[in-house]
Symmetry: C2
Subunit: 289 residues, 2 copies
């Protein structure tokens, strides 16, 4: 069992840290809102520290799951950031969905000090975090990954090293770009079918057996038809992710015409008051009166 | 066993008519190019007729699978069209992917003469036709469908009545609209991943377990990464189908921004000489130098 720190007890981090505690690791936590850290400690028996640096001190590994690049920079290289207390030989595992740039930057800083850094964004959402069934896409070096993986397994059903620093973030972007076009296509299809007067449950039942099938069709078509979006992965978070994708594409020269367009559609869903709706709410924009 | 006519021995119709013959039905065929009808008869032992009307004469059911609305009108209500010889009580089953408008129009004409009409576009492609594993989306009335279905089963793994005349065509449009956005999203994702220097086989292996999964990802991601498109459902046919979707949307008021955009991308693939490439060739446009 390891001594681990966990920074960021949000919707994802809270249950992930819980799985680490249940797996027998000695967990020290930090959260921006201390009350939530207190609640976590009361539930799981760990210790809370007043800043990331203290949460990282004397740990074998430090995990992190915060909101975006700025939050990540603050809790790592900022004043009282974790990097100021990372021991040589320790490993910092970042589960934030962030840019590949910051992953490479932090990996370089970590290497100078002599500790490891793994970028490890996840997919599987809140349910995956709660059930310990997340998919982890990792970037880093083989030795660090080999040491971190058995610990990560506490909340992951799959954890794969996809390349050097930043590769985890880039793979997560591939995932989000595919989803953007896919969900918009599905939204247009269901919207069209409803306008055409079809029984969409029956139609989806038939076409989900063929070349139009997708996880989104299997898991979201029914709620999209009904106009229910009060669950799942929020539009605000998807916009943050798509901004990272579009920014990276500007650098690597990739063309993302539909991802860029869908990002604009999501901005209109936000204007409708749907920032916290599930990403499948693209259909609400098509059906807006 | 039934006496049946089959009009249109193309890539789809040829094997479909073959399954009817193998199932023991007495099959009479018509094809625009008579040599191909001759070849079919040599192979399956049926009879060929010089025009659709003669192929339809004295049949219990007549099947049809031609290219588009114009072809369909020609072989049904045109001079020497099949409708001129359909017996009262017979059923005409149209497997062409055509407009819902022409389906409703032909169903009305059929009703006047006292025979049945079912619009029954298929999905599953050339492989599905050859293996007898097509998915059939039908529109029409219950009684006609109940009689036609056991015959259709010779080449279908699923055959579902989705509503009155035109409903089969509308369901096929839902299918194609969903695929358009989905394939473009997948193309952008793979294109981005390649530009980012990722090992796309590994990345797809990971993300295909989650919310980005689709039949297209499972069956086309590898060939898209390699730039191979010499198989599958041709861009020229997809453009025909999307034209039908966009035309119907103009009538029913549905908004299809991405389907319309992807249709334009396919027109650019045609300009690249890719009219016969598989629909997954959208990635070739993104990667064009």
């Amino acid at each position: 069992m390891a001594r681990v720190g966990f920074i960021g007890l949000g919707v994802m981090g809270y249950p992930m840290a819980g799985h680490l505690a249940r797996a027998g690791h000695e967990v020290t936590v930090y959260n921006r809102t201390p009350e939530r850290a207190g609640k976590w400690c009361a539930e799981h028996g760990g210790r809370a520290r007043p800043n990331p640096r203290e949460a990282a001190r004397d740990q074998d590994m430090v995990f992190c799951c915060v909101g975006n690049d700025d939050d990540l920079r603050a809790v790592t290289t900022g004043p009282q950031g974790a990097f100021g207390a990372m021991a040589p030989g320790a490993i910092f595992v970042d589960h934030t969905t962030a840019s590949a740039d910051i992953a490479r930057e932090l990996a370089a800083v970590a290497a100078q000090t002599g500790f490891g850094f793994i970028d490890a964004p996840v997919s599987g959402g809140e349910a995956g975090a709660q059930n310990g069934q997340l998919t982890v896409m990792a970037g880093g070096n083989d030795a660090d990954f080999a040491r971190a993986r058995p610990v990560i397994d506490a909340y992951a059903r799959a954890c794969t090293l996809l390349g050097t620093a930043g590769a985890g973030q880039l793979a997560k972007m591939v995932n989000q770009i595919a989803i953007a076009g896919l969900v918009q296509g599905l939204a247009e299809a269901i919207h069209f079918g409803k306008r055409a007067g079809l029984d969409m449950d029956e139609v989806i039942g038939v076409i989900s057996k063929g070349a139009a099938q997708s996880w989104q069709m299997d898991n979201r078509a029914a709620t999209m038809s009904e106009g229910r979006f009060d669950f799942g992965f929020a539009v605000n978070w998807m916009r943050k992710d798509l901004a990272i994708c579009l920014d990276e594409a500007r650098r690597n020269g990739a063309h993302l015409p539909v991802a860029a367009l869908v990002d604009q559609f999501y901005s209109q869903v936000q204007d409708m008051g749907g920032g916290r709706w599930d990403t499948s709410s693209l259909i609400a924009l098509l059906e807006k009166k």
